[in-house]
Amino acid sequence: MQNHPVFFDNDPQSEASTLNLGPTHPATHGVFQNVLQIDGERILSGVSTIGYIHRAFEKIAEHRPYYQITPLTDRLNYCSSPINNMGWHMTVEKLAGIKTPKRVDYMRIIIMELARIADHIVCNAILGVDTGALTGFTYMMQWREKIYEIYEEVCGSRLTTNIGRIGGFERNFNHIAFAKIRSFVKEYPAVLKEFESLFNRNRIFVDRTRGVAPVTPETALSYSWSGPILRATGIDYDVRAMEPYSSYEDFDFEVPVGDNGDVYSRFLVRNEEMWQSLRLIEQALNKIEKEPSDIFHADVPEFFLPPKEEVYNNMEALIYHFKIVMGEVEVPATELYHAVEGANGELGFYLVSDGGRSPYRLHFRRPSFINYQMYAPMSAGMLLSDAIINMSSLNVIAGELDA
């Protein structure tokens, strides 16, 4: 057991040299450091160093009441924070035995699928940038902006959303939010179509990505990969289909899979997932129409803050308000694991409760952390430029990697 990072002791006779890729470099999109031993442009071996933005969320979570943990989850995968928020709400709801109304489930699905699209936009557009195609990025970024405007309409913030509450949403979607969602669903297919025609059969892009970093299904499973990069190898594991949460079982959608797990199939899988997300949002919008329009949270006064008017004029509401804010809500002493399909893999929450106001132990199963560990071993033998696009296509988010 050694407590120091391994650096390569270069033999003066050899042609190899050591290169620090990261921790801060525009091509790495975040704080990633890989110490590479390279021979010319070919990588001989590499060591990943992570933890630069470790913020001890698991320790902090042991000292916070349940509702104050939501903002911590924002800062995991900050490209799709609503999925993390919803995943956490659903974990607490499962712990407390709260059943959410269908309308809440459908609202959540709309927001989660928008978040998935936003995440995939960033990943695929930046993959384009890394291969030298800036056009797709500049074009797609404004559509992520439109998704952020929808978040803003629903919860007031954009990146670290803290969207929703335990039991539902903090407020109902207003008509502007619905109008924005509808116009997004109407206009985005043409954009995505155009993005696909810009890339899918683009000779330069295909030559740069096809056959780069192929991964067999066996290797991917052995490294516990999940999410689009696992599906790109041909394994159809999607938490939404396997263990439906938030009423995904009511929806008709497909789980796209790739064939050889290279960068190109990961790109295609993500694009196809955006189409499926659009399908899901459309279905959810139709389903919501059939539900009573004033329901936006479950009837759980011990978890969901009452309206301020009630707090000032009604004693029970005041008591509940006080108990929630002070974190004095009753939860059973037990343990559970709840997983959601995050934008880059299975995001799991392992929660151990002793009945107290904060979790006894909370562990995040962070897909980026688990997906990224294969990066250094798989880079061996690769060209440096291929390693860069391989990192983009893994969609590793530094916040989630380091928790």
């Binding site: 933890g51 392992y350 132990r361």
Partner: protein, 167 residues
């Protein structure tokens, strides 16, 4: 739901391991068993390779610390059988000061960083691990910060003291 029930999984385990593996709960439908570190690798190998079970997906490895217990440090494995869509949770508890457990890296490459993280935060030593170093914390840290005895913040710091409400 899954193609095999928790009871069938449990029967299969009991058939092979008799009383070395004990059922500790089934909260929220997730089968939870406890075993000792002597047979943990045998159990994981059996669960992974048995044709009917096929727990091929290692979801997570983490640990927990109960300072009051006789065996305070527990390592927790979550496995997932993708074919049967069943999950299982396995716990191994160990005495403080003797937190050695065999590594699962020969079974899953992905166990590497999960075990490093568990070592980093709880000081569990995975015997046979190829590269057991700290992963998220600084290399020269001397403590295992997720153990319960370490407070979130230094309790002696004065800059955040509040005259009326204390800390």
């Amino acid at each position: 739901m899954g193609k095999i029930t928790n009871q069938e999984v449990l029967d299969k385990i009991a058939e092979k391991f008799n009383d070395q593996v004990t059922l500790t709960g089934e909260a929220y439908g997730l089968l939870t068993v406890e075993t000792g570190r002597e047979q943990i690798i045998d159990l994981l190998t059996f669960l992974k390779t048995d044709a009917a079970l096929q727990f091929v997906f290692l979801t997570d490895i983490t640990a927990i610390h109960y300072p009051e217990q006789e065996k305070p440090i527990g390592v927790i494995y979550h496995l997932h059988s993708l074919v049967n869509n069943v999950r299982i949770r396995i716990k191994v508890f160990m005495h403080d000061g003797d937190t050695h457990i065999p590594t699962a890296t020969p079974l899953w490459d992905g166990a590497n960083w999960m075990e490093r993280e568990t070592y980093d935060f709880f000081g569990v030593i995975f015997d046979g691990h190829p590269d057991l170093r700290r992963i998220l914390n600084v290399d020269d840290m001397t403590v295992f910060p997720m153990r319960r005895e370490y407070p979130l913040e230094d309790p002696n710091r004065v800059d955040k003291k509040d005259f009326y409400f204390g800390r």
